[in-house]
Amino acid sequence: MRLRQQLNLVVRGKEILEMRREQLIKELFEIMDKLKERDSIEHEYLRALEEVCRLRALRGEYEYRSITSLIEPPKAEVLLISIQGVTVPQVRITRDPDLSKIKDPEYRRSFEMLWKVLKKLFELANLEVAVEKLSKQLNYINRIVNSLEKNVIPNLKEAIRYVEEKVDEEMLEEFVRLREIAKEV
């Protein structure tokens, strides 16, 4: 009886894990769809960076470095959030860089453009970390489901079958013994 209860519990557990696996796969596909933008974002980033480097070359290092020293750097923090019950670290920008001290419109435009793309890259990095963590969890669930499917459940079934056979044999022996006694009596 206990083995049967255990088997029922394991089978139910396996079904729940399979459902969870499906949910994770669905979530992963949704994130992967968003990651398809990576190429265009990277392209945009390279363009923005080239623009800044070109400006740096044309204006000279002496001017460029002192101008960039006027920028108040951005602030970011790492938060742990839960996606489908999986803990994922995510970077959140709490303050954009302050470019207000830079009055040259071209420097401002170039830095703003670069920051805009960098923000998109942060989002992309967040998604990639989420994919990595979800994939790890998926892998873990797969291993458990496989182990339940290929190992634990067959073992339990085998144990139940063995116990059943033993019980049947004992019942048969008892029946034979009783019949023999009955004959002698």
Partner: protein, 319 residues
């Protein structure tokens, strides 16, 4: 020594300046700058800062060498021309007073204000103390007001104006000898004026108070006039429609680059026409300065992995 001697020396010295093919060879890594005798101190493995320092020192040495073989009044002008680096250092300092000192680098040049003293000046007060020195004649009340407001752009414009005031003063004091340069210096001033008109806006530049502050940004002997952006552009022979395209797309640097190129072409024509006059010396020193900027562009571009074609597009080559 005589002017003719100096001009003839410049005809010789100009042969030592880098040519277009040499720039291209450096960009395409077929030639190292260290292979050129003038820059034998240079090594490819040096840091960018060290490379820029060597290039700047070479420029400074060239002008100082020339200043030793010319008459006093021309020497004053040459030194005033070189003091532009000192003014740029003042701008760097002004920015770092509101930013971070550690990321800044300074031109390795001092004349009236020691660059180390400048680096050490960490407060408005220390900075103002340095600005009091001759010959820039900066008005402390104006500079104090600018620093109090933290208006860095206006501060930079004021520094530019003070510098050109100083150069114009040098010309005024020796007008008989230097008057041939006024026309060419005015092109440079017009380019600066155009830049500040774009950054600060025409209204701000010509506000009564600012106008008085920025007198130096007006061409020589035109201090009282109102020169708008279009007029400044047109005087350099640039098509206003073409310039407007740059302005509308926010490409001020490209416009300034175009103006600088035009300015040098006009000077080149002038130097060819008056090849035995002071104009040729001015042409030579401007070429020296442009060589320094071209080398900056190449090495900064390389350091930042800019495409070779893009680097070449930033160069101004007249030889």
């Amino acid at each position: 020594m005589s002017l003719t001697y100096a001009v003839v020396r410049c005809h010789g010295l100009i042969q030592h300046l880098l040519r277009k093919e040499q720039y291209l060879s450096i960009v395409y890594d077929k030639l190292s700058l260290g292979d050129i005798k003038e820059y034998s101190e240079y090594k490819d493995e040096y840091s960018l800062d060290r490379k820029l320092e060597i290039i700047t020192r070479r420029f400074v040495e060239r002008i100082i060498f020339l200043s030793k073989i010319v008459e006093d009044e021309i020497r004053d002008f040459l030194m005033a021309f070189l003091d532009y680096l000192e003014l740029e250092n003042l701008k760097v300092k002004l920015r770092t007073l509101y930013g971070k000192e550690e990321s800044a680098i300074y031109y390795p040049y001092s004349h009236f204000i020691d660059v180390n003293e400048l680096k050490e000046a960490r407060t408005d007060h220390a900075f103002l103390k340095l600005l009091r020195r001759e010959p820039y004649r900066m008005r402390m009340d104006i500079m104090r007001r600018i620093l109090r407001r933290g208006d860095i752009a206006l501060g930079e414009a004021y520094l530019d104006a003070c510098y050109y005031d100083y150069v114009k003063r040098v010309i005024r004091e020796n007008e008989r000898t230097l008057k041939v340069l006024i026309k060419f210096l005015n092109y440079e001033i017009l380019r600066k004026l155009a830049y500040w008109l774009l950054v600060l806006g025409e209204e701000k530049v010509y506000e009564p108070i600012t106008r008085e502050m920025l007198q130096g940004l007006m061409p020589y002997n035109e201090e009282g006039r109102h020169i708008g952006l279009e007029r400044a552009i047109r005087r350099l022979g640039i098509d206003v429609e073409e310039a407007m395209k740059y302005i509308e797309t926010g490409r001020i640097t490209d416009l300034m680059h175009l103006m600088r190129e035009r300015e040098l072409r006009i000077l080149q024509r002038g130097a060819r026409r008056r090849s035995l006059s002071l104009v040729f010396i001015y042409y030579y020193i401007q070429l020296c300065r442009e060589e320094m900027y071209n080398l900056y562009r190449i090495f900064i571009g390389k350091e930042n992995n800019l495409q070779k074609e893009v680097i070449i597009g930033t160069l101004i080559t007249l030889l």
